[in-house]
């Protein structure tokens, strides 16, 4: 038993060392491509750390969004950034010292706060077991999904709106889309991988009702499929060619979420107050459309906007 604990301790130390090393190397590296590769590995190791901390939901989200899709988006950004100019923050010594002092103070505050809360955090968690008590009335059996889609549905609704704002922001930056050279061998392989990614997205979405999974992770997988299609030479990355259909897809998740909420309000139930008997079905509907919206948003984020006609 003691040996086991010791081994866990060694593993924790190793993981923390790797994480710290990665973070420092990523921040201090002067080459941006290198930083981004390190960031992707950081996401991978972070997923391991979450797993070690008994947080399978976050591990899955980190693997899908942090390491996987986030990495792809970062790479795409870097490759679009043709002018190698950097926005230098003022280097005046007074400013640097000021920032240094501020960082020190805030870092100390965080450490201080953490150390003072660590001894009691377990008790607090026991006390706050309200989620488990109400889980039976939420329509799903997985607590994290219950929190995201029912107890704190309003947060999730606004997060979907954040994604919408983000895609418009990317459009506002006016990136030039560059065409990719298609390679036959790669296209053949991509054709194999795309259905797998879509299947996996469906599975992760379905699994969300009873185990880790859900719309955000599934959407990231869908976007992975879209990106592969784009690279394999499909100029629309599998999105509809009618532009208003794409826009409809982008707002579908948020739209249905909001309309269900308002509809329930009109019905006399209260905003986002699902009747217990139908909660499961409303959640399923919202999650499905949210997955589509997230997948499309992230694919478009990769492409830099809704595709125009592309020269052959």
């Amino acid at each position: 038993m003691n040996l086991l604990d010791g081994l866990w301790g060694v593993l924790d130390l190793l993981l923390v060392a790797v994480l710290l090393l990665l973070a420092m190397a990523a921040v201090l590296s002067s080459d941006r491509r290198r930083s981004m590769m390190l960031f992707i590995v950081f996401g991978l190791v972070l997923a391991l750390v979450w797993a070690r901390l008994h947080a399978p939901d976050i591990a899955l989200a980190e693997a899908a969004i942090g390491a996987g899709l986030g990495g792809a988006l970062l790479m795409a950004t870097l490759r679009r950034d043709t002018h190698q100019q950097t926005d230098q923050f003022p280097q005046h010594p007074v400013v640097l010292w000021g920032v240094g002092v501020l960082v020190m103070v805030l870092g100390t505050a965080i450490a201080w706060g953490l150390f003072s809360v660590l001894p009691t955090v377990e008790q607090t968690w026991r006390k706050g077991a309200a989620v488990d008590a109400q889980l039976a009335f939420s329509g799903v059996s997985h607590p994290v999904t219950a929190v995201l889609l029912n107890f704190r549905a309003w947060d999730t609704l606004l997060e979907l709106a954040v994604l919408l704002a983000a895609i418009f922001g990317i459009r506002a930056l006016g990136y030039v889309r560059s065409a990719y050279v298609t390679e036959v061998a790669f296209s053949q392989l991509a054709v194999w991988l795309v259905p797998l990614l879509i299947l996996m997205a469906g599975y992760v979405l379905w699994a969300g009702a009873h185990s880790p999974g859900g719309a955000f992770q599934a959407g990231a997988l869908l976007a992975g499929a879209g990106i592969l299609l784009r690279l394999a030479g499909y100029s629309h990355a599998g999105l509809p060619t009618t532009r208003w259909l794409v826009r409809l897809g982008l707002v579908a998740g948020t739209g249905v979420f909001l309309l269900v909420g308002l509809g329930l309000l009109g019905w006399g139930q209260g905003f986002l107050h699902y009747p217990i008997a139908y909660a499961k079905w409303w959640i399923l509907l919202i999650e499905m459309l949210a997955t589509v919206s997230i997948g499309m948003t992230l694919t478009l984020a990769f492409m830099g906007g809704i595709p125009q006609k592309e020269a052959a």
């Binding site: 390679e183 061998a185 790669f186 392989l189 194999w192 991988l193 797998l196």
Partner: protein
């Protein structure tokens, strides 16, 4: 007990391949050779670790998922290796100055 022993054996073999992949990455002189060593190592290493774990799983659903992960890893690593090789080839032909 025998199953456990078998499992340990396979895991150790897997570890061996991972370590040899590491050595390959460290010592092999040119990048194509390193690519070669690496792909072998991580396919076999992961495969052996996976097989070793198969004797420890609680039910058959786990086993199916393990095998699925490995098969996908094979496909993925083939694609990855191909992509990296093409990328490398292009660089060496001098198409790409930016790297």
């Amino acid at each position: 007990m025998i199953l456990d022993a078998l499992s340990v054996l396979l895991l150790l073999l897997g570890l061996f391949f991972f370590v040899s992949g590491l050595l390959g990455l460290w010592r092999f002189p040119d990048t194509f050779a390193r690519l070669h060593a690496l792909t072998k190592a991580d396919n076999l290493g992961l495969g052996l670790v996976m097989t070793g774990l198969l004797f420890q799983v609680p039910d058959v659903l786990w086993a199916i998922k393990f095998i699925l992960v490995w098969l996908l890893a094979l496909v993925a690593s083939a694609v990855n290796a191909h992509l990296i090789a093409v990328f490398l080839h292009r660089q060496q032909e001098g198409h790409d100055e930016s790297a």
